[in-house]
């Protein structure tokens, strides 16, 4: 075990994967500076800066993956991926099927996602619901350094496409740029979950399987289902609910796809009340998917969702209100009583 920060854990796992396999390479905007530790270890052939050309460098990753490499293509923020959406919607999700299963696309798309740090509606989306709608696209977002390392290791070693989302509130880099070392007049301490930012990482690294949820807190009255920073918000809400005599379970999905259906259903059967907490849009995403799962399985449960209902506003107080904060989760959980 060793204590690592969230972003550090991801790079550590990527470094391990690069050391194990010479065909693992990474490219994206500014990666040589951002991941200077990997550059120092593996050199500029395997750690490449790209121009600001998302559609080309994502598609290039698909080409390279099919030609024998294991590229980790970094899209600085997931909000920039829509510039290259065809790579996901038409290529990465399709080529294995088009080949009749003869050709794998061992690609990792790594991107920052998520808000709470006042960066506006074009830099704080998660888009994981839409990403998981396409065939053959795995989508993960870890909430702790241990999961971040374990999921990155799994993602790189998988023969499938994995979109690895790195929550910007947990990753030290963004907070460092926008507060931290750049200005001391701003504090995000009240919003940053300490367990997500820094924590123990097992050594040697333990891969975390895709599609395996984890129970962060066991309770009998209601199940709060989420991932990423949402899992931490659920823990905060659970604390508040305890004071009202409600014991909440917190299920951290870790993967949006594959969805750990068994874990969700088991929790729903146990508590009979499910609140899905999603830092993504309410329409066409995870919250609806889980509602459909419960209905299809015939599990009788009360259900509520707390998600992003529109453009994320820039003004910090408006942003906070628009995101699935603990107060909104508590209110939703209490309504199910």
């Amino acid at each position: 075990m060793t204590v690592m920060r969230y972003g550090q854990a991801i790079d550590f796992a990527l470094g391990e994967a690069m050391a194990r396999n010479d065909n693992v390479v990474t490219w994206g905007e500014d990666v040589r500076l951002i991941h200077r530790d990997l550059l120092a270890r593996f050199g500029p052939e395997r750690v490449r800066d790209t121009s600001i050309s998302e559609s080309a460098f994502l598609y290039a990753g698909i080409g390279a993956a099919m030609a024998g490499l294991r590229p980790v293509v970094e899209i600085m923020l997931i909000d920039f991926l829509p510039v290259a959406w065809s790579g996901i919607a038409n290529a990465a999700s399709k080529f294995r099927d088009f080949s009749g299963g003869r050709w794998e696309v061992p690609l990792v798309v790594r991107a920052g996602c998520g808000g709470w740090y006042t960066d506006g509606g074009q830099h704080e989306q998660t888009l994981w619901g839409q990403l998981s709608a396409y065939p053959n696209i795995n989508v993960v977002c870890p909430s702790t350094p241990a999961d971040a390392a374990g999921l990155m290791l799994t993602a790189v070693e998988s023969d499938e496409v994995v979109v690895f989302l790195e929550h910007q509130l947990l990753s030290e880099q963004w907070i460092d740029f926008l507060a931290g070392n750049s200005r001391t007049t701003v504090s995000f301490d009240h919003l940053v979950p300490p367990d997500g930012v820094e924590g123990e990482v097992p050594l040697p690294l333990e891969p975390v399987p895709l599609g395996q949820a984890v129970i962060r807190r066991d309770g009998s009255d209601v199940t709060l289902v989420s991932l990423g920073v949402g899992a931490h918000r659920c823990m905060e809400a659970a604390q508040v609910l305890t004071a009202s005599g409600i014991e909440a379970s917190v299920l951290d999905l870790r993967s949006v796809y594959p969805l750990d259906k068994d874990a969700v259903l088991e929790e729903a059967r146990k508590t009979g009340r499910v609140v899905v907490v999603d830092e993504d849009y309410v329409r066409g995403g995870l919250t609806g998917e889980i509602a459909a799962l419960l209905l299809e399985a015939g599990v009788t449960t009360r259900y509520a969702r707390v998600a992003v209902e529109g453009t994320i506003p820039f003004a910090p107080h408006l942003e906070y209100a628009a995101l699935p904060n603990a107060e909104r989760i508590v209110t939703a959980a209490k309504r199910l009583e």
Partner: protein
Amino acid sequence: MGLPAGFDAAGAYRAMVRMRLVEEALVEAWADGLVPGEYHSGIGEEGINVGVVSHLSGRDSMALDHRNTSPLVGRGADLRTLMLEVMGSEDGLNRGWAGHMHLMDPDIPAAADGIVGTSGPLAVGQAVANARLYPGRVAVAFHGEAAMNQGMLMESYNMAVAWNLPVLFVCKDNKWSITTYSAEVTGGDLVERARSFGLAVEQVGGNRIEDVYRAAGRLITRARRGKGPGFLHASCHRPGGHFEGDPIVRLLHNPRGQAEEWGPPMIQNARAKTGGSRGDQLAAVKVLTKRGARAARDYTVRARMDPVRHGRRLLEQAAVDRIEASERQDVEQAVTEVRSAMGSRATFGVSGGTR
């Protein structure tokens, strides 16, 4: 070559000073914790912004990038609501929904987008609309040299030529793609690239306001007359870096502190038992050293290319003093009002959270 016809050196200097003061006030407000998120300042781009915007009025439209404060100030945007928006107030220009990266003002009309390269296609669309609804009006796209590696911007050059649109693409070349040196990730010559699309091309030093004014004027006049789109390449420098808090600027200002933070993990990684060859690692050191040297050169030598300082030289000292005093008074008054409206905001006014 004397000053171009129609060029008002005093008016141009006044506009540049106003932009500089507003930008400096916002940079200071960012450091004081009054501006949430990022701030990409337009300091260093005043010569380009004034040189182009001086030719625009009425329904001439602008598609802006992430450095959009100054062009809006140049078009007469209200300083108070603009600054309130950047600080995240519901009394701001866009009611607190935009922040500095997405400022929108339908009255100007001007819209900013934080996605690199999108100002090109947005201006193409504006030009189609202008040609139909407001004949004689032009659309201007402001973008950086790094955006010229974004496919959609190149596609929009082609569309503009193919449809013979009244649009001007203004390339503000500060030589940096976020914190990557643009030349390291760019093939060929950008001016030749633009020319090969069939655009009418002008190239100027962006710190020389009179040159920008003359070149932009030629291209805009041409476009207004239906003679097709133009491309203005103007060099500039960004003394504040990509955004406030830019790690490269931090490195230059505090090399020891940054080296202490970055150095040990890099050395530890380079020494890992498994990894690249010695040659790979030497190449890595070379890449970073080269970038550091380029940054150091740009941030000292190019910093001398200050457009405001150049503009000052075109005027008598008395006029300079008069302009600076009146602009300073105006901007300071707006800043004082806006700051008092915002108060102190260590947590940006968010009192929620259960922790």
